[in-house]
Symmetry: C2
Subunit: 448 residues, 2 copies
């Protein structure tokens, strides 16, 4: 029997928030005397979601917080022993876990940086068992926030700099913590505000929101009319948007105009948003008109193309759920030996790598090379962020990350930013990486 | 500046894990003297995900835990006041929050029950402000777990009772807590085990798992061959499955057979699973063959139809991410007045409702009626689970919920269980509900 509240998550839970095989493989490394061998793993995405050309790297802050607090308590170790899964594993595995601490180095691209398929957003260099064990949590953290930040950047790019973009996804997010992480990544990716009160306050931001149909329905029923519902809410929250589509949006706008009140904003959540926004604007020319209801970058592009007169958008379901970023975390070097996987359609490149970003006339081009290479004029995107388990960087403000995101997207060519049929990523491999890949492939063929 | 660790979630955070408008609307109700009026909200799904005919209700345990611990601390109240959003709101709102406690009644269908579109899985009857404020968290909790449990039930139905179904989604889940909730709902929906160690231990279950390519790559590089990697891992974990597709699956199976070792299971993660599983089975007739890699119920159905010889499946990305269940939470009665929303394409039915499930020759039919109706021979699915804020039920074991899920699915007709083109839901509205809907619609038309 378990306590349902215990399915909430504390930082102490994080080290066991991993796949079982990370622990069994670590025990195997201990048994073979290989657990302390220096290993390098890189985290990257082989194929981006459909119609995506770039990703906005996000989630590093939470990844580093996890690595810093990586520990196993006596209770956790006892619980693992009780499973009897480790009955044949070496006893010294438990000693290792009891003294566990992440002691490795981490290289990463800063949050808010645009990257492409196959470009590592993070590299962990650590004793083999540590580098292995942290895989699951790192992927969980970086995959989701990167997805949300990328969508937020695309939404901002399509909606334009003046549109108000509001994160409304909490009720549809995949768990309460999923909602918090979505809100963070959305703000860092370019949205203006979140309706999630806990997320906003934790991030030092002001939450945002309008009103719901239930208020209109309750106050209409108890006081008599929709207008009385508007009047009451406007009285206590004169700056808030009124939701006008519970019964008849255009009629509601007309009556609000006739009331002579200064209505800062209204929201439409159903119906033909092109027609309705035009009609509402006619009655309330000074009032901002917001739209919501299953919106995404494709729908916003359509609404703008068809002449909708909208000042802002509430983004929920299609921002925080849906197809994921399928980042993977792969061993690229063990004890100085570059390695690669050759399973069908899932080739990885061997060795510790670096992303070299070179300015061009139209923006930039990337060369994916080896970590030791020099490329004059290029910026090396992977930077050291942790050394011997100690953070080298300080926590960035949401504003700083959002600014990096905006600059990253602005540096992409218009063809890369096309949301319908984006150009392929401008990434080539350096001759050294190509040569190493060929060489490693031959060794692998012999070994198997 | 914020603490990244604080983006983990404690039970104390839950009351602010809400949309801002729930708080502003509550303040409005207080100002109008309506906050204590008895209100009923129902949680249901208007349209199911594509090709779904039923949902498996899940997440009630966490929903009730949330309602039981619903409180606002002095720090939380101060943080809300500091936003200045409530500058014109009545002072008494803060008194209300300071003494907040959920005091309402809750009706719900038991976890593991199959329900259809428009059927409420939960009703909250509480003072208006409370019933309003809890909307966001309840939706978050029930939407996601219901999605996962439904997918798990479909997977079990397609894979058959003997297949081993393993939840491997943690690295792709939307946040660490999302992974925990996915694991719970997957087990309660019919899967056998989860690889998520934290989730398994919290739920009192044994975690499950195999091994990863990185172990094969690391040990191949350090010790010489893939066979040495297999031998080492098998030595410490003789019951675990070996991952054989890092280089050449069939060749690996042949060598394992030649070794004379007793290999309980192998896993394939790439390539043509039909061909490979048949070839591997030929070499290792006594060994269970597991498959993984972007599997879902459609892919399992295809593999089975094409003759794959598989004993189990690892389910990850397509189980825990993707299109959501879009549950909504709607006011249906305020102070004894039934209400409904009539926004285009988003009609709701008024009044407190009950689901009456009537056995038929082929299974059952549902009548969606009013809460007070009597329907001889039918089972009323919504049951009281909380009264005056106190739980009436105890926490169920995962096994009990999984059993209910299995019985629920078995009671559905084969046409409802067709995953490609399921039959429409067998739900009709009672004459009383139809009559109330007509009557309420007229009142709404007059009021607007």
């Amino acid at each position: 029997m378990y306590d349902a509240n215990a399915l909430t998550l504390t930082p102490a839970d994080a080290s066991l928030l991993t796949d079982l095989y990370q622990l069994t493989m670590s025990a195997c490394y201990v048994g073979e005397g290989l657990d302390q061998r220096p290993a390098s793993f890189e985290l990257f995405t082989r194929r981006l979601p459909s119609r995506y050309s770039y990703l906005i790297a996000m989630g590093l802050e939470q990844a580093l917080a996890y690595l810093e607090s990586f520990r196993f308590s006596a209770e956790q170790i006892a619980a693992l022993q009780d499973t009897e899964i480790f009955a044949h594993a070496p006893e010294t595995f438990w000693t290792l876990l009891a003294g566990a601490k992440f002691t490795g180095n981490v290289w990463a691209v800063p949050e808010g940086t645009a990257i492409f398929a196959n470009e590592p957003m993070l590299r962990v260099e650590a004793p083999l068992w540590q580098a292995q064990l942290v895989e699951t949590y790192l992927l969980n953290t970086l995959n989701y926030q990167t997805l949300i930040a990328t969508r937020a950047a695309r939404l901002r790019d399509v909606a334009g700099p003046d549109a108000q973009l509001l994160e409304f996804g909490t009720r549809r997010a995949f768990s309460p913590q999923g909602a918090l992480w979505a809100a963070r990544a959305a703000l860092a990716g370019g949205l203006d505000a979140t309706s999630n009160v806990a997320a906003a306050l934790k991030l030092g931001e002001k939450p945002s929101g309008t009103m719901a149909h239930s208020l209109v329905m309750a106050l209409s029923a108890l006081k008599g009319t929709e207008d009385e519902a508007f009047e009451a809410f406007h009285n206590y929250f004169p700056g808030a948007a009124l939701l006008i589509d519970t019964y008849d949006s255009v009629n509601a706008a007309k009556r609000l105009a006739a009331s002579g009140k200064d209505i800062p904003a209204v929201r439409l959540d159903s119906g033909d948003l092109v027609e309705l926004s035009q009609a509402v604007r006619k009655h309330l020319p000074e009032t901002k008109v917001f739209a919501s209801g299953d919106l995404d970058e494709f729908e916003i592009a359509r609404l703008k193309a068809e002449g909708a007169l909208l000042d802002g958008y509430g983004l929920g379901t299609r921002l925080v759920t849906g197809a994921p970023v399928n980042g993977v975390y792969k061993l690229v070097d063990i004890d100085g030996i570059p390695v690669m996987k050759e399973a069908k359609g899932k080739i990885t490149y061997p060795g510790k790598k670096q992303i070299f970003r070179q300015p061009t006339a139209n923006g930039f081009e990337d060369v994916l090379g080896l970590a030791g290479e020099e490329m004059p004029g290029a910026t090396a995107l992977l930077q050291p962020v942790m050394e011997d388990g100690k953070r080298l960087t300080t926590t960035e403000t949401m504003g700083a990350i959002a600014q990096r995101t905006a600059q990253s997207v602005a540096a992409l060519s218009p063809r890369l930013r096309d949301i319908q049929a984006p150009a392929p990523s401008p990434v080539t491999l350096s001759p050294q990486l190509l040569e190493l890949t060929e060489r490693t492939r031959k060794i692998v063929s012999v070994a198997a």
